[in-house]
């Protein structure tokens, strides 16, 4: 079955179909038909849930765009649909199912039993909008912890961002394991090292992990809320600050969504430079992860060597951009300024140097038996599990799943470039490490190709207005995986709804599956192999 057959089959249930020029199809269905259609999409079209976005249309209604109390909330279910019928074929388009939820009866039917990936999204929507997912598998607070009042829903339009919220006195409940020899090991949110806050509850039997509960979202920044009402260019600053190490990827994802809404063609030179910078960001990110894996097994000899390589990339970035984290260069419509030939050469040289010296790091890691002994068979994430929970990025590719937004959506100039998607079938920390090594080399190749074909020309088109009430997704493949930004502007070109789904948000659940059966002291290295980000979830 393909998409059109599905649309035909369900044409009596579908309220509206809207095709766009940028590969996104929006299908509006009734709340009661949603479950059935999602089942079809997942089972017949092999769709994978990429993200779920809830939009409160309260102000829409006041301005008379949709004066409908029955459809106050809109929930967007975005599915990645493979090009062919098989799972492995690269997805080419986005199928977005939209359903309305009424103000009086804020409930939806949970799809977690057919699509496990919806777990976090539905919980977040419940916390933020108060839309109750019936029949959800595990409805504990996600964004809101036990001490957050149950009747406050911050993302609703009638909630003022500056409202002070008092903590409530409530006892925390958690999953318990019982039996002789089992115990609960709480870790965090304050750790011995300088890392972000996360509270982990390990249910253990001796050193073996039976279950892991991760409580995150300790430092919620409210980016989505404060960006509402911001102009096109101002929100770009927000997007650059979603996460420290993926600044550029987030910014490009945001820019893409804005460019899609306005149907703007970004100049060729800007797109090529974006690709060069994105790939350098990828090299830097992957080197950080490789370094982290080596540190966590106390193989400092290699980790410091890799750390030095990463510093070379960041220094080159600083020299050219005056920002070690690739900030303040990208904007909707292109680049904020052009980068001269000399600068491009510097970046290219940095990439070529890495390509040469990464062999030494590979030699250090692949030829150390004590190191390999730690990473092999550790933290296996099985392909079936990974697919069910919608894992993206290196986590997916290490579990032998095709998932690379550069190939799938061929944004910027990726469609014209020659590079391979690195897959690995070992499923463990070793696999994810190998994928990273492979991608660093591919990235250097991409930078070479882009720099060679770079032509002079303008680097930006002006965007100061945006088409009103038109949703679009911006998708980039960051070092951590696929970032998905969803934007709707209002009729004054101010942001109406901005939703950020970072790669780590999609991957955190994978960690809790990957550690099962492994031992407690191996947790840090498994965690590092996914390199999950806390702050991009606290959006």
């Amino acid at each position: 079955m393909n998409k059109n057959e599905l649309l035909n089959l369900y044409k009596n249930h579908i309220i509206e179909v809207r095709h766009t020029t940028y590969g996104e199809t929006y299908i509006e269905v009734d709340k009661n038909d949603l479950y059935e259609i999602v089942t079809e999409v997942v089972s017949m079209l092999n769709g994978t849930l990429m993200t779920m976005v809830c939009v409160d249309e309260l102000k829409y209604s006041q301005k008379g765009v949709i004066a409908d109390k029955k459809n106050r909330y809109k929930i967007y279910y975005a599915f990645r649909i493979p090009g062919g019928v098989k799972h492995d074929e690269i997805s080419k388009e986005l199928l977005v199912i939209v359903t309305g939820v009424s103000e009086d009866e804020p409930e939806i039917y949970s799809i977690t039993d057919i699509c496990l990936a919806a777990n976090w999204y539905e919980r977040e929507i419940f916390d933020m909008f108060g839309i109750y997912p019936q029949n959800h598998l595990d409805l504990t607070g996600l964004v809101h912890h036990h001490n957050f009042p149950k009747s406050v829903f911050p993302m609703r339009k009638d909630f003022i961002a500056s409202t002070q919220i008092d903590a409530v006195n409530k006892i925390e409940t958690d999953h318990k394991v019982q039996g002789g020899g089992t115990y609960l090991l709480p870790v965090g949110p304050i750790h011995a090292g300088i890392i972000e806050p996360g509270h982990f509850r390990f249910s253990c039997f001796g050193e073996h992990i039976i279950n892991l509960d991760a409580q995150l979202f300790y430092t919620h920044k409210g980016l989505e809320k404060i960006s509402e009402g911001m102009g096109v260019l101002n929100a770009n600053f927000i997007s650059e600050r979603v996460c420290g190490v993926c600044s550029l990827s987030h910014s490009v994802a945001y820019s893409q969504a804005v460019e899609k809404i306005n149907m703007v063609e970004v100049p060729e030179r800007a797109r090529a430079i974006r690709v060069i910078l994105l790939e350098l960001e990828r090299i830097s990110g992957h080197l950080t992860d490789l370094m982290g894996i080596a540190v966590d097994v106390a193989y400092y000899h290699a980790s410091n060597y890799i750390s030095r390589l990463r510093e070379d990339v960041m220094s080159a970035a600083y020299e050219v951009l005056r920002s070690r984290y690739f900030r303040s260069i990208n904007m909707p419509g292109g680049l904020r300024r052009d980068i001269g030939g000399d600068s491009i050469k510097k970046l290219l040289n940095a990439a070529l140097k890495i390509k040469k010296e990464i062999a030494v790091a590979e030699d250090m890691l692949y030829n150390s038996t004590t190191f390999l002994e730690r990473v092999e068979t550790t933290g296996r994430l099985f392909t079936k599990t990974a697919r069910a929970i919608g894992v993206v990025g290196v986590g997916a590719r290490g579990s032998n799943i095709h998932c690379d937004a550069r190939k799938a959506f061929s944004y910027e100039t990726y469609g014209k470039l020659d590079f391979n998607e690195i897959l690995h079938d070992k499923l463990d920390v070793y696999a994810r490490m190998s994928v990273r090594f492979g991608e660093i080399k591919e990235s250097a190749g991409i930078i070479e190709q882009s720099a060679a074909s770079l032509k002079a020309g303008p680097v930006s088109v002006k965007i100061d207005r945006a088409a009103p009430f038109k949703p679009a997704f911006g998708i980039t493949e960051a070092p951590k995986g696929e970032h998905t930004h969803f934007i709707i502007f209002d009729d004054e070109s101010k942001i109406y709804r901005y939703h950020i789904r970072s790669a780590s948000y999609a991957n955190w659940l994978a960690l809790t599956f990957a550690v099962k059966g492994d031992i407690v002291p191996d947790f840090p290295v498994i965690n590092k192999s996914f390199n999950l980000c806390y702050c991009s979830c606290d959006k």
Partner: protein, 315 residues
Amino acid sequence: MNNEILIISIVQTLILIAISPLISGVIKKVKAVCQFRQGPPILQPYYDLFKYLKKDSVVSSTASWLFLAAPYVMVAAFSLAAFLIPSLSYKYSFSSMADIILIIYLFALARFFLTLSAMDTASAFGGMASSREMMVCSISEPSIILCFMSIAITQKSTNLSNIMSSAANVQNAMFTAENLFVLFALFLIVIAETGRVPFDNPATHLELTMIHEGMILEYSGKYLAMVQLASYIKQAALFTLIINIFFPYYMMSGFTAGALAVSASAFLIKIIIFSVTVGVFESSISKSRLFQVPDLIGISFVLALTSIITNIVKS
């Protein structure tokens, strides 16, 4: 004669305790060089100890007297061990009073108190680290006993003075097959006992992987200084055991200032060479998986056993 023994014993104990933090400093520096880093100054462990002394101690409200007593017990036990182990001279030493078994169980006493104190605060990491420590020591203890059994068979004594003097009096006495087995077995045990890679990682910040660091996580201020000093002395004592049993060269034979200076500098050079070896060894490998630790100590156990069998077959 008794006065001389007392003076030299006290002098060599003080020297051993005084240089014990230096050993950690040297190892850290060697590791830093292997990791392409500049690293902290060699004297950093001393600065740290003085810094801890100046800080306040925070003690968990659930902790009992045991938590505060453990650092004293540890420093006392290791200092006594340092007093009994001849570092400069086996001739002028009280080690004739005590044999190797006593020293091994002085270490065990300190460890017993440390593991109890780690569990005393009811911190999750303390209990976890204690259980791991006990797992490691329950297999390293038989191994270390076997090592010394083998040495005792060769040198016909379990007394350190006798072992060292008989080793020193015969040219290259320790470089026989059975003793080299023991040397390697003991080296592994010393690495395990001092909580170094591949058994434990002294530089880690990851609570979940900790063994020794996990046990001392709750200590602060002067108690932390004492616990740290205790582990420095333990490390120095263990290193001294190895170098003086296997390389008892230039040890003090006469009661003169010159002999003292020669033996002290020889000791210093030997222990620094040994520390550099440990540092390089540690840098060249990564930490092993927790359940692989018994296998590693098993290697040491088998080596010690082989050595004993070789000894028996030879005699």
